[in-house]
């Protein structure tokens, strides 16, 4: 089971609380995790990735295991500890001050 933590605005939009649990068969990649999230919560399409290009939105970050994975290849395997559910995959709104 893969654990995904969405930022508060997206939890509200999807009407979920706490972590979202998804199951993937086969490789665990950023793209496949996000595909699974969007399939279950279609209102999140376009909120994390551009709908047309599939690229991460500029002010969205992907963290896991204390690493910033935002600029990793979407098809690169996520860390084993994410794939096994030991660590969550974090979707984060980038910091902004002002």
């Amino acid at each position: 089971m893969i654990r995904v933590v969405l930022p508060p605005h997206l939890r509200n939009l999807a009407q979920v609380s706490g972590e979202v649990l998804i199951e993937l068969t086969g490789p665990v990649t950023q793209r496949l995790v996000l595909d699974a999230i969007e399939e279950r919560y279609p209102m999140l399409e376009g909120t994390m990735r551009d709908r047309r290009t599939g690229r991460r939105r500029a002010l969205v970050r992907f963290f896991a295991c204390e690493e910033d994975l935002s600029n990793e290849e979407p098809d690169a395997p996520l860390p084993d500890r994410v794939a096994t559910g030991e660590e969550p995959f974090l979707v984060v709104g980038a910091m902004a001050g002002g």
Binding site: P8, H9, L13, T47, M48, R51, R57, V60
Partner: protein
């Protein structure tokens, strides 16, 4: 007794204000979608409990919300806004070509006849239409691909299509306005568009009476006179009597003719309201006084309306979509400010009260009259 419902979009959520026809005591609901920018909330004229909201965020993009019960409950509908290929280019601030890139929806305009049909004005400027209650959106491409499109350039607020007026008589006629391209009209349901900017003069562009490039801030129309349009331009308040064929300035004795919103009285088509703002470099009301100006003569002659509005130490702005009128017998008029106040007048502007004072900065106000 009839009721009035105000749909207020702010920088940090939507609020719904309701009152009976006396418009004295208001109930406040919200924030809905707290923390998100709500550029606009608007209701169907034929099914007032059908509401559409533009919910947007620099982080998470564009969401469209729909309510079928007057704003008690909402659900997200379609947010797939794109540009038909080939996307093409427009002018960027630095004068270089730049591909069109969707950023947000500024304005939602439900059909006058069908609650499932709604138009949306986007940034970068494009007009979209949904005919299934907001699930799917299609671009009316002929506007953006107009031969002048490659010359359109954003204003400081972005290149936004912010005004959509559906002609009350001719179903094929639509007026739109874009900052900073100007005003456009279609007479064939969006298949082709005509720039309607003759008579405008803008000192901010090199060719002051250019066919396009004017920073139109807002258009307003009285439904009984669909050929008469009023315009608040960046500077200048303007009027056309032939559906945009020719504009003439009606700024008259206004203390400044810079501003954003413009509205027409619900029952007096020659009564017009504006909120003068100091200048393009000082986006607040002049002299620390919040004054709505009313013309009962279709322009040129204006009177300040001040009763109940702060007349000292006030430095708020009123944005283009943040003024609306209701259709009760004694016309109500409402506006929201950058300081989070929503003011209302139940007597056509003679006297004002603050309905709420401390909302987030107000982006838009719409008024509905409910049976």
């Amino acid at each position: 007794m009839s009721r009035v419902r105000l749909l207020v979009g702010t920088r940090k959520g939507a609020f719904i204000l309701t009152a009976d026809a006396t418009r004295r005591d208001w109930q406040v609901s919200g924030p809905h979608f707290g923390g998100w920018e709500i550029y606009h909330v608007n209701g169907s004229p034929v099914e007032p409990d059908r509401l559409y909201a533009s919910q947007t965020s620099g982080w998470f993009g564009q969401v469209i919300q729909r309510s079928d019960d007057g704003g008690t409950t909402w659900r997200p509908v379609g947010n797939d806004f794109g540009y038909e290929e080939p996307v093409g280019e427009h002018l960027w601030y630095d004068g270089t070509p730049r591909p069109w890139e969707f950023k947000r929806i500024w304005h939602l305009e439900p059909s006058r006849t069908d609650p499932d049909t709604v138009y949306a004005g986007g940034e970068d400027a494009a007009l979209y239409r949904s005919t299934d209650g907001g699930q799917k959106w299609s671009e009316l491409t002929a506007l953006r691909t107009h031969e002048t499109g490659p010359r359109w350039q954003p204003g400081a607020g972005g290149m936004c299509l912010h005004t959509i007026i559906l002609d009350p008589v001719d179903a094929d006629r639509i007026f739109v306005a874009i900052s900073a391209a100007g005003a456009f009209r279609t007479d064939d349901g969006g298949a082709s568009w005509l720039p309607i900017n003759r008579g405008l003069r803008s000192g901010e562009i090199p060719d002051t009476d250019s066919e396009v490039g004017h920073c139109v801030h807002r258009l307003a129309m009285h439904p009984s006179r669909p050929d008469v349009l009023f315009m608040q331009k960046h500077w200048d308040v303007m009027r056309t009597d032939d559906a945009g064929g020719q504009w003439r300035e009606i700024s008259g004795n206004l203390p400044t003719d810079f501003g954003f919103p413009i509205a027409v009285h619900a029952h007096e088509p020659e009564t017009v309201y504006v909120v003068p703002i100091t200048s393009d470099s000082e986006h607040y009301v002049p002299d620390g006084k919040l004054r709505v100006y009313r013309s009962r003569t279709g322009g040129d002659e204006w009177e300040p309306l001040t009763a109940g509005l702060p007349q000292q130490h006030c430095y708020v702005n009123v944005l283009r979509d943040a003024m609306a009128v209701d259709t009760l017998d004694d016309c109500g008029i409402y506006f929201g400010t950058s300081g989070g106040q929503v003011y209302g007048s139940a007597d056509g502007g003679d006297t004002w009260t603050a309905i709420v004072r401390d909302l987030p900065a107000v982006l838009s106000v719409e008024a509905q009259v409910l049976p």
